[in-house]
Assembly symmetry: C2
Homo-oligomer: 414 residues x 2
């Protein structure tokens, strides 16, 4: 089934908000074998919305819209859909009841604007939004379907998964399966890796496609398989996935599409070890990445974000002498930090970072982007100095990923 | 000038990667008065790319594409553009020289695949990509322009700002100004606020438009102005912005489009106070948000991420008795944490969080989403218990924003 998505909202087109709904919807459609093959972002403007719907229907069976359904005057999607599909606006009693319940749950009272959320085009069937006030509207025309959903990400995610997707699957019957396998490889540049497997890639059958997703220090290789027989395509993907795993041996960091923080927690769980972090330039981002994973409390004990030298000394026992002799951004300091973290937080392993994320603070000897990283396992300490390109957020991101990857590599090498 | 953006890449359509380039480009176009009025995301497929270009040209003067220019076989944008604009592929010597330099800077050697990056359609003019190997290609047809840029976000950002945008501005002369003003308001629901200012909103002139951007606990009101006279529209926006500020008085958290962490650092700088955090359920996210702001080291000293009770006792001096009597997720514990943070990290102010982010760990009395927050200023401690809806990442995000907003409110109330 071919799907197009239209994300509606001025804020998306001036760069104030990033559209994450389309990606969330695509992730839920992949496993059932439906392909999103076009996403459009348009403003809260009738002409633009009407043109986008025409274009989407010209190539798709199902069109999903998100956003533009708020109670305020700038949101005009509902009346625009009424114009497109015909009929007129009417008050829907079930929707009004639902709006009352949602508003009450939030401890608020209904007012004229929230009550107006119960107005819908006569040409649609309403799916009640259990987590928000904007009703979901289902339109049909010539065997094609348009479903209009709210733009608030958690409302879209929950209602698409629990209500819209099941009803779409019931309406259409399809037996095309799209499956994926991912492999994460370290130590290769994208082009060198591509050349290494060029002839293998050329020999892949039509139903298997290889994609490259380079990230700092890592390359994700994704095999996509498409076929009407789900079991066949899974067997095929397993075969080619295995071939890649065998080919890259120790350079394979992981054989699934997990984040490095998930991979780290997996290794720690297998070896029954605990971890903490001592962060200067990464400012708590490594702790944040690790604790974003459900269940991370089993292995992650805590962190000291030591932005000032004073805190490095007080809580991590970094010596004033080392700081004075080598500077805060130095191998001796991160090695003392990583030991201090294990001691202060009582963990088997630790990660420490100290660097210059910028834009200020650079010197000729230690320019912006210089980051020292140390990792400690029960088998010893490993440390290194890196020079990351890019702005502040990019330096923080790269330093965090590199530090986590370093600890994984040390845990694997035992 | 009307601009359309086409983001190319299979990974964007299966939800593996989110398109941030379009937002970045839009943010750079706003100040020069150019409007992005359509964004499309399409796969690495010739038919889809050709259709997307036709559609984009049907409504825009300038079409910008990002992505699909890698050295690997899945990237076919270059040959597709050659088909669309005519001509054939040729090797460009300047591009080859640039590729050699970029590759050498990364400490790598050139190979056949990176060398192939120097092949470009004869129908384009090349703009050298100083930070990557994929050349930027400038095509013209019937007074319309298409510029193809790489998809790696930092390459796109830097090269668009430094090379593509200046050349576009030189090519077209335009004097339409689009300007924005933002106001952040707390303590209002979206619909209640909209009703409060309904008649004021109705009286706005055509060149001023009001948009609502609700976030947990906050509403951003954005005034957009569009006019050929930049000074006139700025005066107009200042007038209506002022009216909103006067209307909402103390409920105005900030009068610019800043994040809460930027606002907090601004208040701390004005009052010459320092801050630290003691984080349990937010896992370092508050420290990460604060340290993402350049210059945060002036006020932010550090953080203790105390995931385990052991760390809460060791580093933050929370008493075993309090933990045993009230549990880790309790007002007495976060109040001890916030004092402990000020003492351990030597700061004037602190933020402490303890809660159940989920999916596990909930109990009937303290379900998932329960979060206790305390903030401390030189004038005292303020604490509260919240129940945030949503999944783990949403609870972490809401708890972080709420905690930072609480400290801002305390600092303002002095």
């Amino acid at each position: 089934m071919k799907v197009s998505i239209i994300a509606i909202g001025d804020e998306l087109l001036i760069g104030q908000v990033i559209d994450t709904n389309s990606g969330d919807i695509a992730k839920m459609l992949n496993p059932v074998g439906w392909q999103v093959h076009n996403v459009q972002v348009v403003s809260d403007n009738e002409t633009d919305i009407l043109r986008a719907i025409d274009y989407a229907f010209s190539m798709s069976d199902v069109v999903l819209t998100t956003g533009g359904l708020g109670p305020t005057k700038d949101d005009i999607t509902k009346t625009t859909l009424c114009k497109y599909f015909g009929g007129e606006m009417r008050q829907d009693d079930d929707t009004l009841k639902n709006v009352l319940e949602v508003v009450a749950k939030r401890g608020l009272k209904i007012n004229d604007l929230t009550a107006a959320q119960a107005m819908v085009p006569t040409s649609c069937r309403v799916i009640q939004n259990l987590v928000g006030t904007a009703p979901i509207m289902w339109f049909e025309r010539k065997n094609k379907i348009l479903v209009a959903m709210p733009g608030v990400p958690f409302e879209t995610r929950q209602m698409f998964r629990e209500a819209v997707l099941p009803q779409l699957l019931e309406t259409y019957k399809t037996n095309i399966a799209i499956e994926h396998r991912t492999l994460i490889i370290t130590g290769w540049s994208e082009s060198k890796l591509a050349m290494e497997i060029a002839s293998w890639e050329d020999s892949l059958p039509e139903h298997i496609h290889l994609a490259y997703l380079p990230k700092p220090g890592l390359i994700r290789l994704r095999l996509d398989g498409i076929h009407h027989d789900k079991q066949f395509i899974n067997n095929e993907l397993n075969k080619y996935h295995r071939q890649l795993i065998d080919k890259f041996g120790d350079d394979v960091l992981y054989t699934q599409d997990n984040s490095v923080e998930e991979i780290l927690l997996q290794y720690l769980s297998e070896t029954n070890l605990t971890v903490s972090t001592a962060e200067s330039c990464t400012g708590g981002n490594i702790a944040h990445l690790i604790t974003s994973v459900p269940g991370s409390s089993a292995a992650f004990m805590g962190s000291v974000v030591a932005y000032s030298n004073d805190v490095k000394q007080r809580l991590l026992n970094v010596s004033a002498e080392t700081l004075a002799s080598y500077g805060a951004v130095s191998i001796p300091v991160v090695e003392e930090m990583v030991k201090g973290a294990c001691n202060a937080l009582g963990t088997d392993c630790a990660i420490a970072t100290s660097g210059i994320a910028g834009p200020g603070g650079g010197t000729p000897n230690k320019p912006v982007g210089t980051v020292c990283i140390a990792v400690k396992t029960p088998h010893g300490i490993k440390s290194d100095t890196f020079h990351f390109p890019g702005n502040r957020s990019r330096v923080i991101e790269r330093a965090s990923t590199t530090a986590i990857t370093m600890l994984i590599t040390q845990l694997r090498s035992v």
